[in-house]
């Protein structure tokens, strides 16, 4: 039981981070009708920037600058490429983001090389004991920070002008334009927010229990994909539920690895995708997705 609770807590901490990344996918999809495959490299960019800058700048200023860099990278891609290709088929845009992703990823891998870049989290690698249930302090802080960000995000989505403009233009772009809503601005802001959320996720994903920044952080964003998709690609609530589901499933599979040994070692890495496939078999548009995603 203790083991289960401990795994559950760790799963939730992983899940909220997936949710941050997945919410980024979702708002980009809603605002620009692009499935962005470049989230992995954005996340790695955020992690790399934090690791490289925290020496010269100190930890907290480094985070701030890293968030700015990642947000800026996202908006540059949106302005220079995505915005100019508006109206192009969804598939072409998705492939364009894969291209950008590969370019950025290749450069980051070249810079990181075979090193493990250390991120000097002030909270270190200690773990926190809640009775018999243990969790790394890093992950506990992650739950708090991500929880606050998710709440802020939902509030903004529901109540802010940006949220209303975004939902209106996702529902009917031409009519939104007739109201004076500028889809370009809505879309640019969505990319910035998605970039920043990915960088925040990166901050915690490269801390304990992970050793530091390696190119493998990239794979984490890939696991947030199923979170977004099984939640329904156009639902931010779905992204949160999807993220938690994937995070918990992955943590449980890792924790009970010995019992699951017949499936092979490292099975937990594929669990997110298996969960996604199973959910989609029964609910093809995801848990909370709109039935018809095609727009005329």
């Amino acid at each position: 039981m203790t083991q289960f609770l401990s795994l559950l807590l760790n799963g939730i901490s992983l899940g909220v981070l997936y949710a941050l990344i997945a919410m980024g996918f979702v708002i980009i999809f809603k605002a620009s009708e692009v499935v962005s495959f470049m989230h992995g490299s954005l996340l790695l960019l955020g992690a790399y920037a934090i690791a490289r800058l925290s020496g010269p700048l100190g930890f907290f200023p480094a985070i701030l600058v890293a968030l700015l860099i990642t947000g800026a990278a996202a908006i540059v891609v949106e302005r220079l490429i995505i915005n100019r290709l508006r109206g192009a088929p969804v598939i072409s845009l998705a492939i364009v983001t894969i291209g950008v992703d590969i370019i950025l990823l290749t450069e980051l891998i070249r810079r990181i090389g075979s090193d493990i870049l250390n991120v000097p989290h002030p909270w270190g690698g200690d773990s926190f004991q809640l009775g018999a249930v243990g969790i790394s302090q890093n992950r506990l802080i992650a739950i708090g920070v991500a929880g606050v960000l998710i709440a802020l995000f939902f509030a903004a989505f529901k109540y802010s002008n940006w949220g209303i403009a975004m939902r209106a233009s996702a529902e009917d772009g031409e009519t939104a334009a007739l109201m004076g809503i500028r889809q370009g601005q809505v879309s640019a802001l969505a990319w910035v927010i998605a970039g920043v959320l990915a960088a925040v996720a990166a901050l915690f994903l490269v801390g304990s229990p992970t050793p530091g920044v390696t190119p493998s952080a990239y794979a984490v964003a890939l696991r947030a994909f199923p979170a977004a998709i099984l939640g329904g690609l156009d639902s931010v609530g779905g992204a949160l539920v999807g993220g938690l589901l994937i995070g918990v499933a992955e943590a449980l599979a890792a924790g009970y690895q010995d019992q699951l040994l017949f499936l092979g070692r490292g099975f937990s890495a594929v669990v997110p995708f298996i969960v996604m496939i199973v959910v989609l078999m029964f609910r093809p548009s995801g848990l909370f997705g709109t039935k018809e995603l095609t727009r005329v």
Binding site: A168, E171, A176, A177, L178, M179, G180
Partner: protein, 262 residues
């Protein structure tokens, strides 16, 4: 004043939708544009509101000017900020947004907060049902209420000129009458209106002047009263035979001639 001169518009470089259309909407007036399907009514509104490009349409020649600003080169957002706001055909309210959110979306082009608050008060005064239902999703409103919402949403931008694209479409006759009253009231409060309609009875009832579009050209124009007398409009849009009397004598309520006093 909106003035359109010799406007030619084509879609995809081939299909001619407007061929030399000229018309004026003077300040403070209601102008009706009548025409059947495919006459170019929607194209006309798209050209004014700046959404022509979204439909791969292009102005070949001619001009659309509001005051001394050329609207032909503006995007929809700039046009809204100039005070020219369109209510789209088929209402197109945001069904997943609440009534209140729909109205907020309508006010996005309006940067002046005080003006937005005034506009909202005016909308709720004009359409009390919208205030009652402000927390409901737009999709749950009836057709007539949705049209009210679509008009209210446009009013949130405090327009100087309101463009209405077939507001009577798909609505019951009683509701169409209400829409006519709403248009007249909006105009009384100082907004010019360009009303595109197939329902000529309602349109000519509220308009000062009217134009008839026929396959991309203005075939008739004049004061609404004159136009409703012409044979062509009678036959094509009002559903009367030309030689029948236009108004049937409605039975008048008899006045009480004397009061019974005790």
């Amino acid at each position: 004043m909106l003035s359109i001169e010799g406007l030619h518009v084509t879609y995809g470089g081939a299909v001619q939708a407007l061929r030399g259309v000229s018309m004026q909407v003077p300040d403070g007036k209601v102008v009706a544009v009548l025409g059947s399907n495919g006459a170019g009514k929607s194209t006309l509104l798209r050209t004014i509101s700046g959404t022509l490009r979204l439909h791969r349409g292009k102005i070949d020649s001619g001009s659309v000017r509001f005051g001394d600003v050329d609207l032909g080169s503006r995007d929809p957002g700039q046009t809204v900020r100039l005070g020219v706001v369109q209510v789209p055909e088929g209402r197109r309210i945001f069904g997943r947004l609440t009534v209140e959110e729909n109205l907020r979306a309508g006010g996005m082009g309006n940067r002046d907060k005080a003006a937005k608050a005034r506009a909202q008060a005016r909308v709720y005064e004009m359409f009390p049902v919208l205030e009652e239902r402000k927390a409901q999703r737009g999709a749950l409103l009836s057709g007539g209420e949705q049209q009210m919402l679509a008009i209210g949403r446009a009013l949130m931008a405090s327009p100087k000129l309101l463009l209405l694209d077939e507001p009577s479409l798909g609505l019951a006759p009683r509701i169409i009458g209400q829409i006519g009253e709403v248009v007249a009231e909006i105009n009384r409060q100082g907004t010019s209106v360009l009303l595109v309609e197939q329902n000529a009875t309602m349109a000519l009832g509220v308009a000062d002047t009217a134009y008839v579009l026929d396959v991309g050209e203005v075939s008739l124009s004049g004061s609404a009263r004159e136009l409703s007398q012409t044979d062509e409009v009678q036959r094509l849009y009002l559903g009367h035979d030309a030689d029948q009397p236009q108004e049937r004598a409605a039975p008048r309520a008899h006045r009480t001639l004397s009061r019974w006093t005790a």
